[in-house]
């Protein structure tokens, strides 16, 4: 089942977690390296989202007014 794309907020939260875990240490080396890479990917994704964002505006038309 395809995973719903995470929101900016969710990505940021995950990124924070990754960095905190790395700073606390304790994980084995390979896992840490994988997490580090994931962190880089998330940063890239978030930056891209901010850069390419365009404001979408819609107007609701009310009846009888």
């Amino acid at each position: 089942m395809p995973k719903k794309t995470a929101s900016f907020e969710e990505n940021l939260e995950e990124l924070n977690e990754i960095v905190e875990n790395l700073e606390n240490g304790g994980s084995p080396l390979k896992k840490s390296l994988d997490e580090f890479q994931k962190g880089l990917d998330l940063i890239k994704q978030c930056s891209k989202e901010l850069e390419t964002a365009e404001l979408k505006i819609r107007t609701v038309v009310k009846k009888d007014e």
Binding site: S7, F8, E9, L12, L15, N16, I18, V19, L22, E23, G25, L29, S32, L33, F36, G39, L40, I43, C46, S47, E49, L50, A53, E54, L55, K56, I57, R58, T59, V60, K62, E65
Partner: protein, 524 residues
């Protein structure tokens, strides 16, 4: 709501209610009055100005010419076919059967029969004698069927305020010159939104009624609005206290605003500067969002209903995360709709958090108190509702740096650990042990050799000793020294008694063998 319509009415009806043309005599005057009244009735029913029905000068023509048939009516200037069709019959009826009053002289006991007869036969409009009831009925009819009196707006001050046990409220509305009685029935009180107080300046909406038993006319009040700043402020404070008591302003009811909204709803006027300000700021700060706008009236009598509708409608879109309800600055009257109870309650009931952004920095409306967050201006609301993209870039950069530092640190720690292990002798001089063993082995080997050698040597020495001993004891060596072995019959002769004279003996010499015979024996 009502007021706009009412103003329209006032304007239009005021114009047509000019003073009647005084050039008519009594009879015609009455007819003119009747026709005018009929005109107004029709106008009121159709919700059009009376001069749309028939213009005054046309009425004058009718009165002057007194048409008896439709044909005659058509000939009058100002009446066309259409009007004939719509109104012809009624006009003719009025013209030809003017309403006359009941002419019984019963209400006048003081006159004798002669006078009464006189009164009967004189011109009907001049000397009719009415009963009180008839007169009252007439007045009631006159007042209550007048369109202008049916949907009034009156400005005045409240006095003689009494609250009846029945729930109805009675008061007088007065100004410098006059006063008029008013009654506010229980069922009309709820929609008011504030309590009327003695001395309050208000605008009362309602209609005039005649109460026959008392011969009084009064206004049946349907609506009351505060008039002027003083009253507005009073009403504001009243509602504020009321809602505060109910707990609508409590913090615990205020919903948290989302940190990263995905969809923002905006309820504002589509033409005001507020909308553009909000959009520009959000576009600059955080264009990731989607905006949903519901254009809404932000002032005037219809604003309250419009705002209530918009909030309800916005709540039907389940994906809206937060709502901004805002408009630019204005007077207390302009902003009044944000002090209405209906708006306050709708904000409170909203499932979606609402930011109230009404007016200027220092204006506080009831909407501000009820809302989940109050922004001093629409621009401030836009800045509060979304994060700043520059800050987010900063955060990301910071996280990047932390990420890299963290992994570097981690790798360094592991490297140190590894180096520490590598610096131990096991790794630095792994052959040491072997050398040590080797050395020991060498020692042992040497010792072993030495020991063996020693052993062998000592044994050899022993052997040599024994060998020489043995050698010395070797008969052959003895023989070498000159001794010989004598044997007789393969037996060694050790004593002389073993032989006799002329025995054959063998003499073994060190070299060779002799054979001899015994010649002599000598015993020792």
């Amino acid at each position: 709501m009502r007021i706009g319509k009412l103003f329209k009415k006032l304007y239009s009806e005021g114009k047509s209610n000019d003073t009647l043309d005084n050039s008519f005599n009594g009879e015609k005057n009455e007819l003119m009055k009747e026709l005018t009244k009929w005109c107004q009735d029709v106008a009121f029913k159709k919700d059009i100005p009376p001069y749309f029905v028939l213009q005054k000068k046309v009425l004058i023509n009718i009165v002057n010419q007194l048409p008896k048939t439709k044909k005659e009516l058509i000939e009058i200037k100002g009446i066309g076919k259409k009007r004939i069709e719509s109104y012809g019959e009624e006009i003719l009826k009025i013209v030809n059967n003017p309403r006359s009053f009941n002419m019984s002289g019963e209400g006048n006991p003081g006159l004798d029969e002669e006078s009464q007869k006189q009164i009967k036969t004189s011109e009907p409009q001049k000397t009719e004698i009415l009963t009180v009831e008839e007169l009252t009925k007439y007045l009631k009819n006159l007042l209550e069927s007048d369109g202008k009196l049916n949907n009034l707006l009156v400005r005045g001050e409240i006095s003689n305020l009494t609250h009846h046990g029945s729930g109805h409220t009675y008061f007088s509305l007065k100004d410098k010159e006059s006063q008029i009685k008013c009654v506010l029935f229980k069922w009309n009180k709820e929609g008011l939104g504030f309590d009327i107080e003695h001395g309050m300046k208000v605008i009362v909406g309602g209609s005039v009624e005649v109460y026959k038993p008392k011969g009084e006319y009064s206004i049946i009040v349907k609506d009351v609005q505060p008039d002027g700043l003083g009253s507005l402020n009073l009403a504001f404070n009243q509602l504020k206290e009321k809602l505060k008591k109910e707990g609508l302003f409590l913090d615990e009811h205020k919903k948290l605003l989302p940190l990263f909204p995905k969809t923002i709803g905006i309820i504002t006027s589509s033409t005001g500067a507020a909308l553009q300000d909000i959009l520009n700021i959000i576009k600059k700060r955080y264009p990731l969002v989607e905006i949903l706008i519901i254009p809404t009236l932000m002032q005037g009598k219809n604003a309250t209903g419009s705002i209530v509708k918009s909030i309800k409608l916005m709540n039907e879109f389940s994906y809206v995360d937060v709502i901004i309800l805002g408009r630019g600055g204005g007077s207390l009257e302009d902003l009044w709709c944000f002090n209405e109870e209906a708006v306050a309650r709708e904000i409170f009931d909203s499932r979606i958090p609402i930011i109230s952004a009404v007016g200027h920095e220092t204006d506080f409306t009831i909407a501000d108190f009820v809302a989940d967050y109050r922004a001093p201006t629409p621009s401030a609301a836009a800045e509060r509702v979304v994060p700043d993209i520059q800050e987010l870039y900063g955060t990301l950069k910071n996280l990047y740096v932390r990420n890299v530092q963290a992994i570097k640190h981690l790798v360094e720690t592991y490297r140190l650990d590894l180096n520490q292990i590598l610096s131990r002798p096991l790794f630095k001089r792994p052959l040491d042990r072997i050398y040590a063993q080797h050395k020991e082995l060498g020692h042992i080997s040497y010792e072993l050799h030495t020991n063996i050698l020693n052993n062998v040597n000592s044994k050899r020495k022993q052997l040599e000793i024994i060998e020489s001993k043995l050698s010395a004891l070797n008969p052959k060596s003895i023989l070498k020294r000159g001794y010989s072995i004598i044997m007789k019959d393969k037996k060694i002769v050790k004593v002389s008694s073993s032989v006799k004279i002329s025995d054959n003996i063998d003499i073994i010499l060190h070299e060779g063998k002799l054979n001899a015979q015994i010649k002599k024996i000598q015993k020792n």
